[in-house]
Symmetry: C2
C-alpha cells in the first residue's frame, strides 16, 4: 500500500507553542493606544483580555507551554493528519510531491479551534463569564462557540451580515453549540446603531463586527473579548500546525521546498508558516499585495489599539467574496513584519481560480475545501504545474485550513457560473489609507 | 493525559470483510423473482449488478478479501477513530463507559463510502460506464458520487424529493463530486411519470427512487444499479467498522456490554453489529418494531426481487421525518433474519428525543451527529443513565454513522420547536402489508 497519511500519536501533540518573536532579527513595532497614539502597556488591554493572554501577546520567550487541559482537548483531533495528495499528483501528472496538513478534522471544522480552546481556557481560569467576538466566514465563531461549550462560558458572536445571510447553517451550528449569534452591524451596540444610521443597507464587515464585540466587552467587567486572528497570541496558538507538520514531513522522509497557506488576518498562515520560518513562504491575501505596511486600527470604529500591519485601510469595506475569512482590511502585525523582513512572500489568487482548484481537489482527494483554503489549493496546484513544466521534482506543503461543508452556497454559485473575479479598487483603498493617523 | 482516541495504523485496515452467512445457525430465505415468485438465480440479477457483487450477495464464505485498490482508498480515513466519550460521561455523571466509532471522518461524511468504493471498483472492473442509484438523506448519494469520481464512472442519483428540497447543499456536494442529481419521482423514467400522474404532490420515498434508478439501469446495458443498504453485499462491506472496533476496544482494554447502531435499511447496524454477533445488540428502526417479517419488494413499483425482511409494506410512504436515512419501508433481510434468530434486539427512538441527545452530544463531544445517528446517541445515553440509576458499571459502544453538516435545517427546526414526534399509522401499515403477495 502507498502511504497517504503521516500520523502522529496523541503524545506527540506539541508541549509548547512556538513564539517566533524570540528569533526575529528585528523586533516588531509596538501596538499604539487609539486615543494617545503612544505604545500600549499590558494594563491598557486588561479590559478586553485576561492577563495570561496579554502576557503571551508581548512575550519574547521562544516556547510557551500548552496547558494540560488544552492538550487534552486538542487530543480530540490533534495531531491533525498530514496527507500526501497522491491522487491529485496523478491527475496533474506532475513530478511534484504535494502534501497537505488537514485542519478540517477539527470538530469545529477548521484550524480556528486551536486558539479558541486556549482563549476560553485562560478566560475561564481568570473568572470571565461571557465572551464576545466577531466572525466573518463563521469558522471562528463556530470554534469559539464550541470552546465556550467545553468550558461553560456564555458566547456572543457578531457575524458579518453578508455571511449571516449567506450561511444560515453556520449560524445553526453555533447555536447548536449554545452560542448567541447576531447579524452585524446590529442595534445591540452604540457603534452598530451609528453604522446602521449612516448606512442601513451595509453588508457589514469584520472591522464593524469587531467594533461591536469590543464595545460589549469594554462595557461589562464579566465579559471579555476574543479574537480569531491578527494578534500575536492567536498566531502563537496556531503554531501547533507547523510544529506537527515538521515532524510529519520527517516521517514522510521528505521536506518542503515551498510552504503555502491562505491568509486573512494571518493566523492560518502563521500556524503552518512560522515554524518553517527561514524558508521560502507564500501567502494569498490582498492586504499583503495591495495594501500598505503602516499603523492602522483593527476595527472600523477605531476602538481598538493601532497595530503596524499590512492594511487596505480600516474604513475600506471588502467586497462580498465567498472566502469570507479573507475579507479583512488588515493582516496580523507579526505576519506583516515577517514579510517586511523578506522571510516570506505574498501572492493573490482570484476567486474563480480558487474554486476551480477546489473542485479539482474535491474530485481527486474527496475533501471539499473551505473557500478560503481553495486559495492555498490553487497556489499549490500552480506550483505543481510549474514543476511539471520545468521537469523538476519539487515538494509542496500547504495548509488545508478547513472543510467547506457550511460553504456549499458558494459552490452552487460557482458551478452555476454566478461568481466573478474581483479587482480591489485602488482608489477606495488609497482613500482609506490616506485617512489613517500619521504614525509609523 | 486521558486517552480519548483508540487508533489503529493504516496497515490494520481489515484484509477481508466478514460474512455472517457462514456462521448463521439457519440460512436466510432466498430472494424471489418479482414475476414468478420463485427463488432468484445469479443471472436474474445480472442486468443490475456486476457478477462479482452478485457472487458476494449469495456467498457463504466467512471472509471475503478486500481488493488492494479499495484498501488503498480506505486508507484516506480508515481505520476510523474509536472515541471514548469521556466528556459526555462526565456530563451524564454516569459510571458507564461510552465509546463511539466515528464514521463521519469519511470524506463523504458517513459510513456509506465503505460500500460505495467497492461497488464502484467492481463495476469499473467489469466494464460498467454509468451507475444509477437513489438517495434519501443524501449520505449514500454523496458517497457514490465520490466513489464514481475516484473510478471515473458517470453517476446519476435519484434523490427523494423531500430531501432534495430540504438539502440543497447535499445536492451541491454530489454535484461538486461530478454526479447528476434528480428529484424523485421525476419525469425521466416511466415509473416516475406514472407516480407523478397519480400523485403530483408526492414527497417521494426511497422505494419510489429505487424504482426509478432500477429502471434506468435495466434499460441500458452500460448502466448498472448501486444500492446503499439492504442487500447482503452492501452489509458485508460495512463490516470493516465492527472488525476495526473489536481491535480498538481491545486497545482500550474494555469490552462492550451493549452495542448500538441506528438502522434504516440496516447497513450501518450490520457494519458495527455483525462482527459482534452472539452478543446482545440493539437497533432503532420502526420496520423492526412495527413491521412484519415477510417477503416484500424493495421498491414501490415492484420491479425489484422480493426479499424476506421486516417491512412496513412497500406501498407505505414513510412520513417526512428529518432522519431521512431511516425513512425506508423495509430492512436488510440479513438484519431481519438475525433479529428473527434472537441475536439482536430492536428499539424505537422518537425524533424529539433523538435531537435532544444530538445537541447534548454536540456540546460535550464537539461533533454534530447526522439526524440518523442521533437515534443511536439517544439509545446510548439512555443506557448510560440506566447504568447510573442501577449504580452499575457498563460498557456501551455505538456507531456514530455520520456528521450532520448537511442536515442543519433539521437542527434549526428542532431548536425552533418545529419538530414533532411521529406515530407510525397502524392502519396504513396494515393495509400496505395486506397487499403483499402471499409467499413466506
Amino acid at each position: 500500500m502507498e502511504t497517504i497519511q503521516y500520523n502522529l500519536p496523541p503524545n506527540r501533540i506539541p508541549l509548547a507553542w512556538y513564539n517566533i518573536a524570540a528569533d526575529l532579527p528585528k523586533p516588531m513595532a509596538p501596538p499604539l493606544h487609539p486615543g494617545t497614539l503612544k505604545p500600549l502597556g499590558p494594563d491598557d488591554l486588561a479590559p478586553l483580555f485576561p492577563m495570561s493572554l496579554i502576557m503571551q501577546e508581548v512575550s519574547t520567550e521562544r516556547e510557551i507551554e500548552i496547558p494540560g487541559e488544552v492538550r487534552q482537548l486538542y487530543a480530540q483531533w490533534r495531531p491533525s493528519p498530514l496527507f500526501r495528495a497522491r491522487r491529485l499528483e496523478k491527475a496533474l501528472d506532475t513530478p511534484a510531491h504535494i502534501y497537505y496538513k488537514y485542519e478540517g478534522v477539527s470538530p469545529a471544522g477548521s484550524h480556528k479551534l486551536n486558539t479558541a480552546l486556549p482563549q476560553a481556557y485562560y478566560n475561564k481560569k481568570e473568572g470571565t463569564k461571557h465572551l464576545s467576538t466577531e466572525t466573518g466566514a463563521g469558522q471562528w465563531g463556530s470554534a469559539l462557540a464550541l470552546a465556550c461549550a467545553f468550558f461553560g462560558l456564555d458566547c456572543k458572536v457578531y457575524m458579518v451580515k453578508v455571511s449571516y445571510n449567506q450561511k444560515p447553517y453556520r449560524r445553526a451550528l453555533m447555536e447548536a453549540f449554545g452560542a448567541t449569534c447576531i447579524a452585524s452591524p446590529s442595534d445591540t451596540t452604540d457603534v452598530g446603531r451609528a453604522i446602521l444610521a449612516a448606512n442601513p443597507e451595509t453588508n457589514g464587515s469584520l472591522g464593524m463586527a469587531i467594533s461591536e464585540a469590543v464595545e460589549v466587552a469594554a462595557k461589562d467587567p464579566n465579559t471579555k473579548y476574543a479574537l480569531g486572528s491578527v494578534l500575536n497570541h492567536v498566531l502563537l496558538h496556531q503554531t501547533v500546525i507547523g510544529l506537527e507538520a515538521i515532524e510529519q514531513m520527517a516521517l514522510a522522509d521528505d521536506d518542503p521546498d515551498v510552504v503555502i497557506a491562505c491568509a486573512g488576518g494571518g493566523s492560518n498562515f502563521a500556524g503552518l508558516g512560522m515554524p518553517y520560518i527561514g524558508r521560502k513562504l507564500k501567502g494569498a491575501c490582498p492586504s499583503l499585495t495591495k495594501g500598505k505596511f503602516t499603523y492602522d486600527f483593527g476595527d472600523t470604529s477605531h476602538l481598538t489599539p493601532l497595530l503596524k500591519m499590512h492594511t487596505l485601510g480600516s474604513t475600506f469595506v471588502p467586497p462580498g467574496i465567498h472566502a469570507g475569512g479573507l475579507r479583512y482590511h488588515g493582516m496580523g502585525p507579526l505576519v506583516s513584519h515577517v514579510l517586511d523582513l523578506g522571510l516570506a512572500e505574498a501572492t493573490t489568487v482570484q476567486q474563480l481560480d480558487a474554486f476551480a482548484a477546489g473542485i479539482q481537489f474535491a474530485r481527486s482527494e474527496g475533501i471539499i475545501p473551505a473557500p478560503e483554503a481553495n486559495h492555498a489549493v490553487a497556489a499549490a496546484i500552480a506550483e505543481a504545474l510549474q514543476a511539471k513544466q520545468e521537469g523538476k521534482q519539487k515538494t509542496i506543503l500547504f495548509n488545508l485550513s478547513g472543510h467547506g461543508h457550511f460553504d456549499m452556497q458558494s459552490y452552487i454559485a460557482y458551478q452555476a457560473g454566478k461568481l466573478e473575479n474581483y479587482e480591489y479598487p485602488a482608489e477606495e483603498i488609497a482613500m482609506a489609507l490616506a485617512g489613517l493617523p500619521s504614525v509609523g
